[in-house]
Assembly symmetry: C2
Amino acid sequence: MAVRAVLCVLLGLHCSVFCSPVPRVSVCGYESCPATKPKMLNVHLVPHTHDDVGWLKTVDQYYYGGRNDIQHAGVQYILDSVVAALQKDPARRFIYVETAFFYRWWKQQNPSTRRVVTQLVEQGRLEFINGGWCMSDEATTHYSAVIDQMTLGLRFLNDTFGECGRPRVAWHIDPFGHAREHASLFAQMGFDGFFFGRLDYQDKARRMKAREMEMVWRASQSLKPPAADLFTGVLPNGYNPPPGFCWDQSCSDAPVQDDPDLDDYNVDMLVATFLNIASAQAQVYKTNHIVMTMGSDFQYENANLWYKNMDKLIRYVNAQQANGSVVNVLYSTPSCYLQELHLANLTWPLKTDDFFPYADDAHDFWTGYFTSRPALKRYERLSNSLLQTCNQLEVLGGAKSRSGPFGEGHSDTMKRAMAVAQHHDAVSGTERQHVAYDYAKRLATGWAHCQVLVRNSLAVLSGSDVPRVFCENLNISVCPLTEGSKKFSMNVYNPLARVVTWSVRLPVNGTSYSVTDSNGKEMDSQVIPVSKATQDLRRDRGYAKYELVFEVQAPPMGYTTYSVTLLKAHPARAPTTPKAPASMQNKYLKVTFDPATGLLSGLTNLETQQSIQLTQNFYWYNASGGDAESRQASGAYIFRPNSSTPISINQNPNISTLQNSVVQEVRQQFSPWVSQVVRLYNGSRELELEWTVGPVPVADGLGKEVITRLDSNISSAGYFYTDSNGREVMERRKDYRPTWDLKQTEPIAGNYYPINSRAFIKDGRNQMTVVTDRSQGVSSIYNGSLEIMLHRRLLHDDVRGVEEPLSEPGEFADGLVVRGRLLVMLTPPETAADMHRPLAQGMVLQPMLSFQEGALPRNAKLEFSGLQAALPPAVHLLTVSQWSNDSVLLRLEHQYESSESKTYSLPVTVNLQKLFSTLEIVGVSEMSLGANQWKEDMKRLQWKPSTGDDMKPVGGGLGDPTPWEITLQPMEIRTFLLRVQRR
Amino acid sequence: MAVRAVLCVLLGLHCSVFCSPVPRVSVCGYESCPATKPKMLNVHLVPHTHDDVGWLKTVDQYYYGGRNDIQHAGVQYILDSVVAALQKDPARRFIYVETAFFYRWWKQQNPSTRRVVTQLVEQGRLEFINGGWCMSDEATTHYSAVIDQMTLGLRFLNDTFGECGRPRVAWHIDPFGHAREHASLFAQMGFDGFFFGRLDYQDKARRMKAREMEMVWRASQSLKPPAADLFTGVLPNGYNPPPGFCWDQSCSDAPVQDDPDLDDYNVDMLVATFLNIASAQAQVYKTNHIVMTMGSDFQYENANLWYKNMDKLIRYVNAQQANGSVVNVLYSTPSCYLQELHLANLTWPLKTDDFFPYADDAHDFWTGYFTSRPALKRYERLSNSLLQTCNQLEVLGGAKSRSGPFGEGHSDTMKRAMAVAQHHDAVSGTERQHVAYDYAKRLATGWAHCQVLVRNSLAVLSGSDVPRVFCENLNISVCPLTEGSKKFSMNVYNPLARVVTWSVRLPVNGTSYSVTDSNGKEMDSQVIPVSKATQDLRRDRGYAKYELVFEVQAPPMGYTTYSVTLLKAHPARAPTTPKAPASMQNKYLKVTFDPATGLLSGLTNLETQQSIQLTQNFYWYNASGGDAESRQASGAYIFRPNSSTPISINQNPNISTLQNSVVQEVRQQFSPWVSQVVRLYNGSRELELEWTVGPVPVADGLGKEVITRLDSNISSAGYFYTDSNGREVMERRKDYRPTWDLKQTEPIAGNYYPINSRAFIKDGRNQMTVVTDRSQGVSSIYNGSLEIMLHRRLLHDDVRGVEEPLSEPGEFADGLVVRGRLLVMLTPPETAADMHRPLAQGMVLQPMLSFQEGALPRNAKLEFSGLQAALPPAVHLLTVSQWSNDSVLLRLEHQYESSESKTYSLPVTVNLQKLFSTLEIVGVSEMSLGANQWKEDMKRLQWKPSTGDDMKPVGGGLGDPTPWEITLQPMEIRTFLLRVQRR
């Protein structure tokens, strides 16, 4: 591709992604795989370590081996030790997975060790697998952050080791259930196969019996196969070695004791046991190759123990071949095992649904973590928005963004913090409390560094060096500048590629303000009282009596500026009234209330003239502490209510109401720890439910899992819909699994599924869609009903290793209070996506507000867009990020599925040369989704499903009109490396 | 020395002890020590591991790392790991101590690893310290077995590494108190210094204050200084690192976290802490050198953790020198530290007593293990006797001993089993039950191999191949051959160097036998009924109704043969009478009994016409389970009675009596679990008390520590005397310590001391000496009283790591029954040693009986002595052991102290050429006691005590009349390597 050739010459850097790798004298990848014996059962031993990027300890504690009193684990030693052990015998292999750790370690190595490691990698003896910064959670992560964290890790490997550092296999051995969207992303990243360890125990039993432990996962309903087909294998023992063969320092299995002069000689017994295990395992897999994961959590800190004993095992087991044994054991890797499966040239069962929810026993559904630590889940999501904004402003502001009037700023810390937060014990909420704090601290530190960059960039773009502050506590009406200022301006940066309208609420103490937009036009604004719930929540962090509410609109990938001036103190507006209105409405929506209770009673879409009955309330499930049926308690991972009937908090909340030209609110106080604002902005097509839950009381000795439930007259008949990692939508059905005959043992927990951004129920006429601001657990237990778990506070550990009950102390140690928003829409099913797709992207990438005290600076540029024009509605600007001095990583995404929108589920073309307003694209080269391979070099192993179409590979971009005009198919993400010049 | 030169040429083998080592290009020993800084405080970090030769796991389990569920420990990995770590940096040092493990490891290494290790040893980077097969217990071991185990370990090191493998320093970091005799032996083995970790907490406090942590220990009252002077140092932290600096995988201290980009950076804090610790430690030691033991139990399995962090510690602490710090940290070894102390050229406090008993807190006296596992203690002692016999017969029988008519026999297994049994958690009784079984099994296996050798040797010597059986259960009257035979012969082998008379009791079913000696002379023999206690004890292992009792006499280091023939069945003798006699007596002793109770009431020495009142009974201390004063319970290590008054078992035992021409017995049954035979043989000068204790009942919930107490009218005034490892005698005094002002906190346990072979009390006229058959705890709580703890059965663990209460199950799982003997003598104090010295040696090296069925073989040699004549009474033949094909190790010992016997405490000369009857000595070379150095090369560092004589070194053998005639001074042991030819 010409564009790429130009880039290579121009960039001339060591980045081997960007330029064609210089051929090296190395045999890595499949060519480096060990010989196997075709007539024998080949047992692939895969030495590996599973290194959680934070869990019981922080990522840095795990790296160094600090706080070994909590858990013995020190990754620095693992890598030291494995490198030493690999050097001792070229037959030995090891895989490494988590780049967050490898990066820390590599930084500290001297050139000689680096040379040794490079050689091991180039000979395939040390192989990187998966290769992301972490092994992401699959239930609670948003696809954009997953792509980012994979890109960060893969880039480090590519920069460091070139092609030999490119992982061939995705490896999610520990995450607690598996999302179809993850599989789709892995396929688009170029992985040849995927292995995992955890799936529903019923599913596993069936698959073992049917020899369906390995399959082709068709992971998208929109992308043309095999673009999202991923060969997927279930590992035999989770990710542990077979029983009796764990030789890590953390294990107590007998070593190979092969000196007949010493007591406890056990070679014959061990060989016999191993042969039995191998033979049994071969019965549930299809080929004459089987895999055994020889390692586990933080193992190989003393690799000698493992390798010394495996060396002996291999020697003694293979020695039996002379006596007629047909078992051949060898050191291997997942990719070498995968290659053998591919060479077997079989057909494989087709999988089209996902692996949620995960249960490892009848009463052990890992569906609690969909909601665990809701504040962390929200902060992670918010941080993603801030990082995308930071990335965009780094590109838009140029070099001065990093080093400008406000000092040195950068996005690296934020990128790493966000990448770490994707870990399957991070945003999942399944870490210890102090580790959760550490994740949050990392994000905060990352944001602090980004803030400098953002200030610099906005200074460049606006021409104003006036100090700029950010108010991170607007959700509890705290912002010292707006509270005290008589005149200030507000910059609204919009990271989306289209104009966005949004309502802002600023804490103030005046009773009347003038708000003008960047053209000086006066906006409609209203001052309303701060709610009691918010006052309680903010405690002494702020004292604003009022909120100034008005609607703002910002240009695509750009900002605009509003001026706010305190008017002469008008008398305070009429206070709220203590009673719900019969209804509130704007031109789009009508919301009705039960006059007796003040609760919602109905919703009408005034545009479509459709109407549903809709009630909504809050309940809590009483968390089981274990019972006669099972000792399993609810915990960070596991949701297990002790009754299927949740307890209502209050059917008659205290009500206060306000209505003005900008906003209408019904404020509902259900209890000291549950309140809600039902809010309708003047310009909104959706109803906002702002809930506040906490501190959840547990003095009664009962753990509580708080839900809100929307009950409608929609005939949903047990079906409901959830998004997968914020992208494609999965159909769910109560007490049902598409691929096996479910025996339902937990009527509530066994019906929970994760959502990242939305859920809906529908019938022929009505679809009620709820868009959420963070990942949560959701279900539909009753016809027409949708319940969302909001918060959890528990008194027991669920015995999955955390050894801490999930009981977040909160800021004042009386229990964590969490506030969030649900956006509720009523539409016909056929046009629902047209509304929820952009709305959900707006929740993910929200406007960034910043404030400057005083009057607008003279000559300041009050409005700016980085795009020449808004992108087409179907196109989402997923990534704009500085890659090197002269290059930018761009990802464009078609945000509709192939059949969900009559209007938008169509191919759409973008002309890259007409994309940016201030940057000229002088070169473009398409890459794999993980940005570690040229798209044209991405040649994945192809697998034949036993059912479904046998598709030929379809190259990306084949349908592009010109190299600059690229076409996106529904749900397609395309990744480009651009060489740019400032116009 | 000419003799030696001849030997060297003739032997021409790789054994570098035997021939002058060829100079090697190596810098080991003191020359290899790291540079220090004279103006600074030098902190010697000593990386080390403490590898128990059995404790919670068996020695083989520890070697391989089996049963890591009990304790994580695998010595194979420690050595693998340390060797790898040492190769990474020449500054790193390591010491290794336990040859039992190193030997196992070395056997499994390939030539390339052996070369690497040899180089490390030759460069002083890996240094052997102590070097015995194990680190022996000091309280419960007999000196002869200690010398043997040291010799075994040191020889392996010498054979493998030559001079560079010779340890310079003795290192007993863990034993629970320290025996003066051990120090004496170490001095005689050529050690330059000695370090240990445990001493009484009051003693330690005083020494720290007075800066007397390091001293000169004058370890013999007889040997001329400095022959038994040993520089002795108390380590600062036991054998652990200073708090906060343990970086083993088994520890949880923070690693050095030196990446400022990561959380928990702690370099500044660690450096400051370390400097404080070093400074505080320097306050209690005398020089500008201090030592820190960087390691502990089974540490360094992953040496990288330790070294990586110590490398950093050294770097960061020494970096502070640039800022004025005067602390210099370095990798070092105990010998390098010792060298610096020596170079300091100071005088050191003089120590002449010992370090018993050991208390680590006010109620935590480690005096229980003096008696713990009395059966194992006896079996170990018996095994020593068997091994010495086996060794002698290997020499006497020649090559056919190892390979003869009864197959392949050898003493190697027995030597190693005995060496292992000396470990401070073996014969000490402080191991787990399954480990105690393993020690016993090893001894039994060793004896099985020795039995073949012994059979072969006796076949050679006697000219008879008739099968020969050994009866190992004679103590419970079980011997299938004698029980069923009508005619058999008995070989009595005497390992002592003088004629010994002994009484034998053989289980029989006939009522009358003819017994003839090797000259056909009829012996007086008697048939007596087997006691009820013995019948109960043997259960169904034997059915003899009677015991045939007669006196035997065997020649020095030789055997004689007795023939036994069943006479026509006479009617059974009169049964025992159920009442004690008023007295029983022979020509030497008169023993009186209380007619009312049948208990002892007095003892008269008829030769000296001295008489004492003497009562004796059995009691038990109620073992504490912890109380309000202290939670300390009695356990395997610790003795803590919950009252100072022991509980009497029975003041009126059931009595039965028998008296005949060979033996007189009063059989006392105190309870179902305590009985005793008070036995006087016709030819004995001592009274035998054969006690049987067990199963100790604990169903009442009370742990019991069973004693026997002898109460006399001797005015002992709080003084009593105990032997040290079976050699020199220590004066003890109730509630008193010679070197500090004792605050007595445990009136019983704090007055217990170990005995190995004897204890006595005395006044101006009378000395009552008790010789025992195994190591035990002893005290004198009352005037004229001596109490000996016989057995212990406890219900609590004493929290010193065993985690198992000491409650031996015994053969039938109802609790262990133990039987033993005490020999009681009454003499004037001035002649007591003349009697107890040979008597105790006779208890240690007892005759070995073997039996052949049927008539005496024709032409068999019925009597044999390996010596030309008995050695002088003062001389004990300590070692006669094959060293190589043509060489024999000989140790001769003067068995009297310098002032204990008017008759025998004199120099005595032995002519080596006139020693053996069948072997000609063609070369002789004197060696250090450990046989790993020529005596003439043994040049120890000399140390000046601050008090006492400042002696010049005295070479051994200076007073010898000729090279063949060697003179022994009181308590001197001389070690010779002999080249021998068969005459």
